[in-house]
Subunit: 188 residues, 2 copies
DNA sequence: GTCTATAAATAGATAGAC
DNA sequence: GTCTATCTATTTATAGAC
């Protein structure tokens, strides 16, 4: 901690986070991360024993980032309903990324499901951060079956994302976001 | 046509179709397909110039398979509503596959979006087969905005699939299927 | 049409100098 | 802590014998 190399470690994780989202985990090589950071390949192994370890660090970073963002939603809203609408609004804020590369959490899970069940399990914690938070918002608003509503909300967001990305369709995305916001309002 | 090698070509496509679903396109090697078919790697290039060509053949096969299946749904149902419920029922029939590997169409699109936009565009035709058919069912039942309903239905199915696979949750899948069937009934 | 051998490139990972 | 050189395995793809 506080050592000289922590800056490098952080830069590796940040670059890997971005590349894993835009190109996928398996299709991102050490060379890609090296070029993005200007840190030589061989140096990576001072910070991470394996490529899987880099992914685990990325998962930790994403969990922290989402946790901070969700706290921000709560802090800047006046009701759980408003907080949940901010979560939905992320698909609008990140519209270009959604259409180009999908959801960073959902697409990573789908990729790892096929060839690395162990890593898929570890990466699930990012989904769980969102799930727990959404369930708390529904619960705080007095809604029935808050846990189920939280899963339903995440499923709707994932489905909209997959189709908007598959068809490169911003019109569908915007129409669906409107419908999803109405759904949230109808449940609270 | 009718030549000796067509049997081999068919076996390659069938094995690749299965492997692309269960392991993903990029994570499936010629060696994997070779071992699954007992056809030597070198022989593949008699039938396909590149790995991308194999995927295009798989996409054609999937389009034909889904077209036949959807025709079957129509033939064995007494209403467009019933046909649409059969489509939803696929997630139940293929429950184990959904939880293990997701949706073959959706997960392929998500994978290709990240590193092969050209192939993603070509593989979209399988989605379009489902979309056109679903829109026709909604339209035949007299529903308003059949095209939008078709996209919404596919988005719901994709979202349920992504979350059921991410959380390995059959209970969520079954509950969501019930909800989706009720949604279909409410729209027709 | 079928198959073996191998090319050419790239992957993740290691050793060891500095 | 940093970086170069390299190892080993695997990838897609080709050449050419049969």
């Amino acid at each position: 901690m506080g050592t000289k190399g922590e800056g490098n470690r952080q830069r590796i994780v940040t670059a890997a986070d971005d590349l894993f989202y835009k190109r996928g985990y398996n299709q991102t090589s050490f060379q890609d991360i090296s070029e993005a950071t200007d840190i030589p390949r061989g140096n990576f192994y001072y910070y991470f024993k394996t490529k899987d370890d880099i992914l685990e660090a990325v998962v930790q970073a994403r969990s922290a980032d989402f946790t901070a963002m969700l706290q921000n939603f709560e802090a800047s809203s006046t009701s759980p309903r408003e907080s949940l609408l901010m979560l939905v609004g992320m698909l609008d804020t990140n519209q270009d990324g959604v259409i180009e590369s999908g959801c960073p959490i959902g697409s990573l899970s789908s990729e790892l499901a096929k060839d690395n069940a162990s890593l898929q399990g570890k990466s699930r914690i990012v989904f769980e951060v969102l799930y727990d938070w959404a369930a708390r918002q529904f619960s705080a608003s007095g809604a029935d079956k808050a846990n189920e509503l939280a899963m339903d909300l995440l499923a709707r967001m994932q489905g909209i994302t997959v189709m908007a990305c598959a068809f490169k369709d911003a019109v569908f995305l915007q129409r669906s976001l409107q419908g999803l916001k109405e759904w949230v309002n109808s449940k609270i």
